[in-house]
Subunit: 248 residues, 2 copies
């Protein structure tokens, strides 16, 4: 698919995903948000809570560090415990220092005062922010995320991740939203492969996909037409439906 | 965590994941299988149905091609339609040819005969296998996956992926299964950060993780101890529970 939208990658940091104990959901959520906000998500990665792996991935994925994409969104590893190593890894990837950020400390202090809790050493660890970073507000639990270069660092807890995404996305300049039309047919994908390929050939700016499934023991296929040009998507989708003889 | 187990990565191929329309489940399933079978899963990636991106990822991840890990498991892009480009990309990554594999054709022919279907051009496309690859049986729908070097290529349809995983894993030499013990407490993770860090310091061969959650408006934390040495995991877990005052 042809796209002039800004490109993006998602980096999920966390052993709990790699050991199969937790099913990843933050990247899935953000992928949908990015499609609607006009970002072209090209890649997702999951790495463990390991300083060197995180540094390596950030450098490979953030264009401002010579990597591949305009924006890199990370999830996980910015909490108060010993296995939360993301903020230090980001500082190292960018070659900057890290320390308590006064704006972050103030946001956390306000919340902890309200809750009647003390802002102790471990909690304060969440106010450690790489030098020069801009904070991402956390409406869910105060401890902020941050942006440095093209890298946007957010928490792994789903409610907090989602709150940070809500705060961050409106301040980024996206492109045209991805438009998608789909239909399900109860036929195997081999049956429609030629028609699909023909429509794809006629529409090089669109992306046509087919996704087989089984339902009650029968084979079906979901056909999807995607692109940034809505009228072109609608026209190609109508052509496809006509060729394979289904009502959209 | 210290591990002498073979290392592994998972590469998921598919636009439908990157556009946020489908929540990834195959990598999640395989991650659990790999932990139990004694493989140390280090990384997951998701890339689009794009020949060059797939080639690049395979070369970066498969040690037999100079990449990072002993095993690379892929999901997606080996169906009969124009957007299924994985088999060709794998052949190119390894610099080998690709063509109809007679063993694959025979397996598919037997199944299609049984179903009374013709093995047409599009369906036959699924018997195209890189030269020198070993087939992975597909008990769900016949069209096989394949292994080339350290790369194991499987389908994206969950039932088929799962059938291929079942056929493949027993023939690979794994290591020691990952042992994991966990407990949930209704306290924030800051409260237990020091105890957790202390147990982690005392047990450098184990991995200790804490995962905050909210339930009915209250904060909780899941504490996890992981490792390959079961008695060491049990001992460290008991120490942790004692320190934070919970019953395992």
């Amino acid at each position: 698919m042809e796209s002039t939208n800004p490109t993006a990658a998602i980096l999920v940091i966390g052993d709990e995903i790699l050991t199969g104990r937790t099913r990843e959901g933050n990247a899935w959520h953000l992928a949908g948000v990015l499609a609607n906000a006009g970002f072209d998500l090209k890649e997702m990665r999951v790495v463990s809570d390991d300083h060197d792996r995180i540094v390596e991935a950030i450098r490979a994925l953030d264009k401002s560090l010579g990597g591949a994409y305009d924006h890199l969104f990370t999830s996980g590893g910015i909490g108060p415990t010993h296995d939360d190593v993301t903020a230090d890894a980001v500082a190292d990837a960018f070659g900057v220092g890290i320390g308590i950020n006064e704006q972050a400390r103030a946001a956390m202090q306000a919340r902890y005062d309200k809750l009647g809790l003390e802002l102790t050493g471990n909690r304060l660890r969440m106010a450690r922010i790489p030098d020069g970073a801009e904070l991402i507000e956390n409406a869910a639990s105060a401890a902020p995320g941050f942006t440095l270069g093209g890298t946007h660092v957010m928490a792994g807890v789903p409610e907090v991740f989602s709150a940070m995404v809500d705060a961050l996305i409106p301040r980024l300049v996206g492109g045209r939203p991805l438009v998608s039309r789909e239909v399900e047919i109860m036929r195997g994908e081999s049956d429609v492969a030629e028609d699909l390929a023909e429509i794809a050939r006629q529409n090089p700016k669109l992306s046509l996909g087919s996704y087989p499934f089984t339902r009650e023991g029968r084979y079906g296929t979901k056909l999807v037409v995607r692109g940034l040009d809505e009228p072109a998507v609608e026209t190609a989708f109508a052509q496809l439906c006509q060729r394979i003889g289904v009502t959209p």
